[in-house]
Symmetry: C2
Subunit: 348 residues, 2 copies
DNA sequence: GTTAATAATTGGAACGTTCCAACTTTGTCA
DNA sequence: TGACAAAGTTGGAACGTTCCAATTATTAAC
């Protein structure tokens, strides 16, 4: 049926008013008489009118469209999926709509999706940059005055807002906790050494270790892919040492799960014979057995906060770069052994 | 700096050609001379031109924009995250860009995001409908001739394409496998009874059970939320029976993980003292301990196939509804006990 | 050297909306 | 009654692009 789409002019004709009036109704202007408003609305429903945002924000060259873009580097990692959900909640309630793309750590893909989002006139961007992203990659965005909030990974030199979690404090707290439980050979396992996040988490580990009696020892850091399989692999290398560790601070929860898998394959019970603590507090951490002691970063919360920072910038007009650090906290569960002493599961 | 955005006319002026020529360059038309093309391209780069898709597909009222929308009901479930990744890969390589939104099982939210996507002129939609979605909810879309592919959950009566996995065959195969291993008290655990997916998976279980010597027994199906916590809960109820089961076919992998947690909490070793098989084959299934025997549905593959179905419809012009069933297969790992007999881990 | 064909380029109209300034209607007050 | 204000409505221009028909420049054919 209806060949061409129904436009504001069709509505105007059918309602016996001018297109300007229909436009005013669309923007809920107080200028229009109540009775005309209801009539116009009725006609719109009847004819199945759909608003054409493309045409609209073509005219209002100043205000950009109501789209915000979110670019993540690994959507299969549930951390990012939850982050996206967090962004979505606040963005939706502000009347914006989310545009999500996954780069799979590819810089080329990242460039493509960012370009595509610009073409569609996004009002702002939340980006968890692919590995190897540099400040120049973001240059065009800041030149065009498009608000950007970087999450998870910061990029030195880029004049944009960022929101990262307090990686240093997280691993620091983890080491302190394990040391208080009596461990001295504590390993740092997992993660790729060439990333800023790795450096920060390792830094917290190192600083805390050097305060212990045994001090920081280089051979106790064993890196690997930041995945479950990487954790299995790294643990194997750690256990092959002459004096293997009795505890591990892991780069993230995925690695920690891998470490637990590896321990069990060796008939070592995580949380009893060996302490492991993760980082991120992904949703599975609390339900797995043993429940994972980890550093909580609340991915949904980060998403929400990032979205708020972005909206603030968008509304301010002048994009004022702002750096925030999201605080983290240690969640003591079972995998560190602290709760195993008593059956009553007292939290340390 | 640059107050107004740079348009095709600015480029034309700077390159000494007409706006029409610039437009032809943009669409890579063979009509334009090679030397002019390179000059225009150079100027575009120099002035930092960004294409305005809104304006473009305002003019070409026939062809819609190069956006495809994807609507999922639970992005925190890694099944859907992977599905989205699958869609993204094929959609991107076809020059489209993905527009993802999460409904969190809310019908209202679903209506909002679909409306929003229409306003932005999506070319097509891939929808995993929220629980309780009805055919009327999709009516406006089919009336407007917007191609839609339903995934995971089909909606009876909606005249749109769908791609669901062969739920019946999956649980049927699972039961057959467990029966062959000597189990007779096999439970069906997890899932909400009011969903089509539940009915199909239960149906496969029932049909397979009635072919066994012990037959189908109503009390052996125990439902719960389709989550890890739901699995723990359902297992507790199952084990409280006078004659508890010795094996479980689970509604999905999340439930299966919960069942394993519950078993271990009772000092029952999954894969040794009790057999469990899941459904979905999420990414963690193969790395967990014990590795989960499950029905593989390949979420990324489903996403890719759905995207292909959608693109076909978009290119065809006439949206021809097509229903497809994605085949599944049983992946035998450790949690069913089949591989535990020999240390060599032979696959049954 | 003219004509025809081909290659390359072009100005104007159109897409669906919003903004602006102008207009009409109605009501109020002296 | 006239002047003025307030409330409501309106036509036209503009946004940045693509399409169309028309134009000019170039080459080929006789």
């Amino acid at each position: 049926m209806g060949k061409g789409r129904v436009t504001v002019i069709d509505i105007a004709k059918a309602a016996g008013v001018s297109k300007s009036t229909v436009s005013l109704v669309l923007q809920a202007s107080p200028l229009v008489n109540e009775s005309t408003r209801t009539k116009v609305n009725a006609v719109m429903r009847e004819l199945g009118y759909v608003y054409n945002r493309g045409a609209a924000n073509l005219r209002q060259a100043n205000a950009r469209s109501k789209i915000i873009g979110i670019v993540v580097n690994d959507l299969t990692n549930s951390f990012f999926a939850e982050l996206a959900v967090g962004v979505d909640t606040v963005v939706q309630s502000a009347g914006f709509v989310q545009f999500l793309s996954n780069t799979s750590e590819s810089i080329d893909r990242q460039r493509e999706v960012i370009a595509s989002m610009r073409e569609h006139g996004v009002s702002g961007l939340i980006i968890s940059p692919a590995r190897g992203t540099e400040a120049v990659d973001l240059k065009p965005l800041v030149m065009a005055g498009i608000p950007v909030v970087l999450v998870v990974r910061n990029i030195p030199g880029a004049k944009v807002s960022s929101l990262v979690s307090d990686n240093h404090a997280g691993t620091y707290a983890a080491v302190e906790h394990l040391a208080a439980l009596g461990h001295s050979r504590i390993a740092f396992v997992g993660g790729f050494p060439d990333t800023a996040v790795f450096d920060e988490r390792l830094g917290g580990y190192r600083d805390a270790m050097s305060k212990t009696s045994s001090g920081f020892r280089d051979e106790l850091v064993v890196s690997s892919a930041p995945s479950r399989a990487g954790g299995v692999d790294a643990l194997a290398r750690a256990m092959a040492m002459p004096e293997p560790p009795t505890a591990a601070v892991c780069f993230n929860d995925a690695v920690a799960f891998g470490v637990c898998d590896g321990l069990r394959a060796r008939r070592i019970e995580p949380g009893k014979d060996f302490a492991v603590v993760g980082f991120d507090d992904v949703i599975e951490a609390k339900t797995t057995v043993p429940a994972l002691t980890t550093i909580s970063v609340d991915p949904q919360g980060i998403g929400q906060r990032a979205a708020q920072m972005l909206l603030k910038q968008i509304n301010a007009g002048k994009p004022e770069a702002e750096s925030a650090v999201s605080s983290v906290r240690l969640i003591v569960r079972e995998s560190c052994g602290a709760a195993m002493n008593k059956p009553g599961r007292k939290l340390a």
